[in-house]
């Protein structure tokens, strides 16, 4: 039975920035392997909604993980991009999780998933207009007020565009950052998927993206389909290893932005822990190379 969750007081106690470390999605089936390996560098990210039950094994697993590792709390269904008011009960649950687990990173999506009373369980797209910008900013204000800290907003992967859109996605995102002070979660796979699907260069998008506000990066695998005209249509499936092209973009961004916490996202066809761990190690190697290069430059400058 799910009972209403009493809003907990949110302590004004933030975890320190964790810097350029690589993390992975936390999947409960990996818990025994993770515990056997002992505490390790890096962080774990969970979908907030999976921990919104009253009790039981999910909370025990998350407490165990949280004891030894920084946590990233990633909301997938706040429906920030939708036109209807935020679900206050859901916002209260989100706030309670932030208060309970003190995550070092808190993020949500530039997307919507609820319309009227139906929850569609997908990250649905929105048009980019002055009206939607005002609405999204209003929703982010409410979330940040509730959790009393900046939210990281994730750029979407999209398969189509709205005819009424009056600005680019990067202009829209810049507008959000300017008005709300939120941070950004840059999903490089999403950029690559959208760029392929809409036929623009991913590097152009990244050149326009406000990198200084990026507090986390997501890397994930995608699947390939085609549209009605036979054009390649990439699907943001999170069911396989990170593509080579996405790794390349990641290296370019890290060289430009400096190291930031980077997550390997893998949500379906989940592999054994060592495989997921190896993907994170590959990301860590790129982050470390960047740190090393920066240190070398410092020495030369000294």
């Amino acid at each position: 039975m799910i009972t209403a969750i009493k809003p907990a007081t949110v302590p004004l106690r933030f975890s320190l920035p964790i810097g350029g470390v690589a993390g992975t999605s936390f999947k409960p089936e990996h818990l025994p392997a993770i515990l056997e390996a002992g505490p390790q560098a890096g962080f774990f990210e969970v979908h907030a909604e999976n921990y919104m039950g009253a009790g039981g094994p999910p909370h025990r697993a998350l407490e165990t993980i949280r004891r030894d590792h920084p946590l990233s709390l990633h909301g997938v269904s706040m429906s920030i991009g939708g036109p209807q008011p935020l679900d206050k009960t859901h916002l209260a649950r989100f706030r309670s999780l932030v208060a309970r687990y003190q995550p070092t990173l808190v993020s949500e999506h530039l997307a919507w998933s609820t319309h009227e009373t139906s929850f569609f369980n997908d990250l649905l797209p929105l048009p980019y207009t002055e009206a939607t910008l005002a609405c999204v900013c209003d929703h982010i204000d409410q979330v940040q007020e509730a959790i009393r800290r900046p939210l990281l907003l994730e750029n979407p992967s999209t398969y189509l565009t709205f005819r009424e859109s009056a600005m680019s996605e990067t202009d829209f995102i810049r507008g959000i950052v300017a008005r709300t002070g939120c941070g950004l979660l840059l999903d490089i796979n999403n950029v690559f998927v959208s760029a392929t699907n809409h036929g623009f260069p991913a590097l152009d998008y990244l050149a326009d993206f406000p990198l200084a506000h990026v507090g986390e990066i997501h890397l994930a695998g995608h699947a390939e389909q085609t549209d009605d005209d036979g054009n390649l249509l990439l699907i943001d499936s999170h069911d396989g290893p990170v593509a080579d092209a996405v790794w390349k973009l990641f290296e370019i961004i890290i060289a430009r932005r400096g190291p930031v916490p980077t997550l390997i996202e893998w949500d379906s066809s989940i592999p054994a822990w060592p495989i997921l761990r190896a993907e994170a190690a590959a990301a860590q190697a790129i982050l470390d190379r960047c740190k090393l290069a920066a240190a070398t430059e410092d020495r030369h400058a000294a």
């Binding site: 039975m1 799910i2 009972t3 909604e49 999976n50 919104m52 039950g53 009253a54 009790g55 039981g56 094994p57 999910p58 909370h59 025990r60 269904s77 429906s79 939708g82 036109p83 209807q84 679900d87 859901h90 919507w112 998933s113 609820t114 319309h115 009227e116 009373t117 139906s118 929850f119 569609f120 369980n121 997908d122 649905l124 797209p125 929105l126 048009p127 207009t129 002055e130 009206a131 939607t132 005002a134 609405c135 398969y159 189509l160 565009t161 709205f162 005819r163 009424e164 699907n197 809409h198 036929g199 389909q225 085609t226 549209d227 009605d228 005209d229 054009n231 249509l233 699907i235």
Partner: protein, 259 residues
């Protein structure tokens, strides 16, 4: 008002997601302004498939019994007619057992809906609030003349599912993926679902046990619950049943009533 008109995109985008008979919205486009076509269908597919998979994850024994093709066809009907009303997916599919009971193609499996009810109760128990179960020794501290008035507080995870079929045996045989021996489906079985600590446990209740347990969890005193259980089944054994319930972790505390 102007703002409402500018924010109508979701009202245009959402309805065809779960209704393949509706046209792809004209407000969205593919490359170079072409109709969105298969691009919109990606969202239709994401929504429908992810919700079918949600039901498959909640009802694995039902899927094992029916096979995946049958299950997915049945689940697709349910997803389209009853999409989730909450972003908490572990809360989804509460009306799925009733849907299964009325699903024409499942009429030759009359116990299937009860297996689904046990699986739904299993997940509710899994996510229920944590609480320490009542220590069995506490019962012996109650004076005999006060036992009849004893009231027990149910553990948040405790659930009871009654079935005129062998739903508990069928559930157990199909839940863990081990090969099943032949089951006589016509034996009525009632299930007690508890989670004393972190593992959900599903047990058979003895004759009269379901009426007894349901009376107690609804706040009836022990004496009244025992009378109701005897009325339901003359074979009812009060000592066996109360010990069994407490040992299963069905309660968290007790309060001695009036003598």
């Amino acid at each position: 008002m102007r703002r409402d008109a500018d924010l109508g995109f979701a009202a245009a985008f959402a309805p065809p997601l779960l209704d393949p008979a509706r046209e792809v919205p004209t407000a969205v486009a593919g490359r170079n302004g072409k109709p969105a076509g298969r691009r919109y269908d990606v969202y239709r597919n994401n929504v429908t498939v992810s919700l079918i998979e949600t039901l498959a994850a909640i009802y694995p024994a039902v899927q094992r019994i029916t096979g995946p093709d049958f299950f997915r066809a049945m689940a697709r009907f349910h997803v389209r007619s009853s999409p989730p009303a909450s972003p908490l997916l572990f809360d989804y599919g509460r009306d799925f057992p009733d849907f299964v009971a009325n699903y024409a193609h499942a009429h030759d499996m009359p116990w299937l809906a009860d297996v689904a009810r046990i699986e739904r109760a299993w997940l509710d128990a899994y996510h229920a609030a944590d609480a320490l179960p009542l220590a069995p020794a506490l019962l012996s501290t109650i004076a005999l003349e006060r036992l009849g008035g004893l009231v027990l507080t149910p553990h948040p995870a405790t659930r009871i599912v009654r079935s005129p079929y062998a739903a508990v045996t069928i559930f157990a045989a199909n839940r863990d993926g081990t090969p099943t021996a032949r089951i006589d489906a016509s034996t009525p079985e009632d299930a007690l679902i508890t989670r004393p600590e972190f593992d959900v446990v599903v047990r058979h209740l003895p004759p009269g046990g379901a009426v007894f347990a349901a009376s107690l969890t609804s706040g009836q005193p022990l004496g009244a619950a025992a009378i109701a259980a005897f009325d339901a089944s003359p074979e009812f054994d009060i000592a066996e049943n109360i010990a069994g319930l407490i040992e299963a972790g069905a309660f968290t505390s007790l309060a001695a009533g009036d003598a």
